[in-house]
Symmetry: none
Amino acid sequence: MARERIYLFDTTLRDGAQTPGIDFSVEDKIAIASMLDGFGVDYVEGGYPGANPTDDALFERKRTQNAAFVAFGMTKRAGVSASNDPGVNALNRSKADAVCYVAKSWDYHVRVALGCSNDENLDNIGRSVEATIAAGKEAMVDCEHFFDGYKANPDYALSCAKAALAAGARWVVLCDTNGGTQPHEVRDIVGAVIEAGVPGGRLGIHAHNDTEQAVANSLAAVTAGARHLQGTLNGIGERCGNANLVTIIATLALKPAWAERFETGVTAEQLEGLTRLSRSFDELLNRSPAAQAPYVGSSAFATKAGIHASALVKDPATYEHVKPEKVGNVRHIMVSDQGGKSNFISELMRRGITVAKDDPRLDTLIAMVKEREATGYAYEGADASFELLARRTLGDVPDFFEVVSFRALVERRHNALGEIVTVAEAVVKVSVDGEERMSVAESANGPVNALDMALRKDLGKYQAEIADLELVDYKVRILNGGTEAVTRVLIESADASGHRWWTVGVSENIIDASFEALMDSITFKLMKNRGHAGLAAAE
Amino acid sequence: MARERIYLFDTTLRDGAQTPGIDFSVEDKIAIASMLDGFGVDYVEGGYPGANPTDDALFERKRTQNAAFVAFGMTKRAGVSASNDPGVNALNRSKADAVCYVAKSWDYHVRVALGCSNDENLDNIGRSVEATIAAGKEAMVDCEHFFDGYKANPDYALSCAKAALAAGARWVVLCDTNGGTQPHEVRDIVGAVIEAGVPGGRLGIHAHNDTEQAVANSLAAVTAGARHLQGTLNGIGERCGNANLVTIIATLALKPAWAERFETGVTAEQLEGLTRLSRSFDELLNRSPAAQAPYVGSSAFATKAGIHASALVKDPATYEHVKPEKVGNVRHIMVSDQGGKSNFISELMRRGITVAKDDPRLDTLIAMVKEREATGYAYEGADASFELLARRTLGDVPDFFEVVSFRALVERRHNALGEIVTVAEAVVKVSVDGEERMSVAESANGPVNALDMALRKDLGKYQAEIADLELVDYKVRILNGGTEAVTRVLIESADASGHRWWTVGVSENIIDASFEALMDSITFKLMKNRGHAGLAAAE
């Protein structure tokens, strides 16, 4: 039997931008749009052109290749024509493929918030949709407060949906704006809307998580006939968040109750990247991924020693609701130190390092990793530093060079023109084959950049080898907080081969921590050039 | 119409103890049992006496006054009588009021994990329940893997439930052990079990969150007729967690779809302590409460959006699905580049700053906040810097002092003992009333600490005023990443009055950004001392 298509609409960059504590820059938005675009999502809503400089800049170009790029905004105001409404014009002139209008569908809000008549609101919806279609774009309408509006005045809520439809909107999206609607109410109301003549194939749902049921509400709408689901990466969004698209994608694809009847644009191969997608997004937000996140969390397939663990080893299928590898996650059984040991051995093997189970250096390495992680190191996020630590413990990392001393200076002063400027300068003294070399560099981007430049200026016989080394990302996290604070720095490096690797440094002193990570990066690059660095570099 | 009673069963201390990273001590368990006992929960499951020393110690006494104190354990083994089974005896001799047995109800697991016959398993259930009742305790049975078992062999799964019932169990609890069952499947299967003769008034559900639908599954079981719900505080538990009892309690009490038909043992007054309960539990676990947690999170009633904020101020009821005070939480309207004019006015009023809607300085302020947030500032997280920016725009911040120049030096070198040390030193030159003052400080904790010390060393006539100022937290975020990176620094300060405030600085140079936030903190403190700083300091 042919499966019905469900369309996925991502609003991470628009409704997700309402999350307290999250502020996307234009560069963030471009990066996230590109992540989503490669993931089989049908629509990527970028923001609200005309409302703020970030979104104006974003919509100067189309930012997706596969997904439709969507601009969000309000329907035209009452009393002006769509062609004279600056907001509508900003949307239609943007480089978006589609425009998603937000329209009031609760008569109470039409009166109180818009201050126009019910009929004017219907007219605003219809004329705005027509203007977008005339501009050659797809139009859709988010019916705000639909469920609460429907409970208060079903006829008027329905007439808003029908006005959008009659004007040619591809989708009418029923929004549970306040997030309090229960799944059985969603099912009943979506069913009634279809019954009243709005085809399910043009009907969508936009759910919020205020009672922890945004996923259930989205799926209840599918049961009732809706075929378009809105949500965000990791469920970010205003208040308690939007429907979590990560969970929805996996559930539709992997749970037989849905997969037997429906399909999305996400391929099985893309689905295997789901865990990476979710975690990369958290990385970009500079926050720790939620360990207990469904499907993609580090604990999602973890079992603690106990009544299940031994049976799980015998037959995982009967203790796991889906296979972790389908979403790119891994099973994790926390049984014993012995289990920890085989974990390490397989981690090392993955990097081409062979070590016997009874080699005492393996115990040293395990103890060292545990001790260092307790003081703030995070080797999970710094593959290259982990590999160096392992190879050093096993004795096969040469001392390429030694840093004798370094110095970094930041100065804010008046320059010759009387302007206030801040400059950074760094001096590094290294010793290569017993010969000392001293380099100095200056930077407008701060002391770490100056140190990096000075360190890589003259490494003697190794200099040519590191010419293509580039620092591509830099992250700082303060651990413990307050006066006991320790700084963890993670640095991502790349070279001309396209390989990327992460290194870590930890210290009370941020400059010291950064320098440690920079040193690891150069050493890893030199090991890599000698064919000693394993898979970490290839990832 | 009389409302039907729903019974709440908390398994935080038993199933919640399976959460990766959580290890309860006996003292923890006693404290948590007492928190739950004062909250109107009907059952508090403490753990598994006989399985580990912590739980043995816990069950030496009854740890609840109002709730029934429950011991968890396996049914008797095949081939021994209940009175000769050490596990069953440990349960029945414990100081628990009730015993909850876990029993296999999927024939596959009976064969593979227990290695006994289907009939022997039924006998084990019946005899164990009888032994507990004979010991003067209430008995109940968790039917493990019930939903998967029912799909595989409905007759056998049902016969397990009926064996428990026939032996006198107060409750038969259907467990979605692997957490993958969908809400409509729960509804159908619970309905079928009731249809087959198990009364809903003796039926419970135990749901897991592996598809983010544990709350929806629990409520779907209520719809189908079950009257006993198991869950944990904040949804902790194995893998993705158990059903979140905090959300379930609030939803049953406050959402009309449930509250009109059902009631629990939680009073309206206890419900007002829900936010405190949830956050105290996180405190006890030494973790930050989830900002986006339904009902109780700090963001659960926070609004950033301009389009909603203005209406929210007018009439909160139409933008909030429940009143925050019902669960002891508070409404929060935030400033950000998403916000409109009314957002700003109400935020300023909160700080004792009055400005007319048509005052051009208000437009200047809004434009400035938008522009600065586009370059990386985040005023939402830096109340004190927002207030200073507002007061500066409105012209009422004096120039207390001016920083003429500063310099920070970080040096790694060999000391006199030949050890490698890293030291930071900073020099700051300030001008107070036209008089220049120069201070120097040294720190082992890096350049920001050294700068902070130097800056606060000599502010002339203001020095005594800032003696109680303390830097209590420091956060760094790299925006954009890569070579275009900009650094945002957030600093939390406190003084002897117990007030705390956050300030922000942004620059390509981390030292520069830190310095900006430090300067704001001192200026805010001086304003505050003069009675000019608003509510930001009181939070």
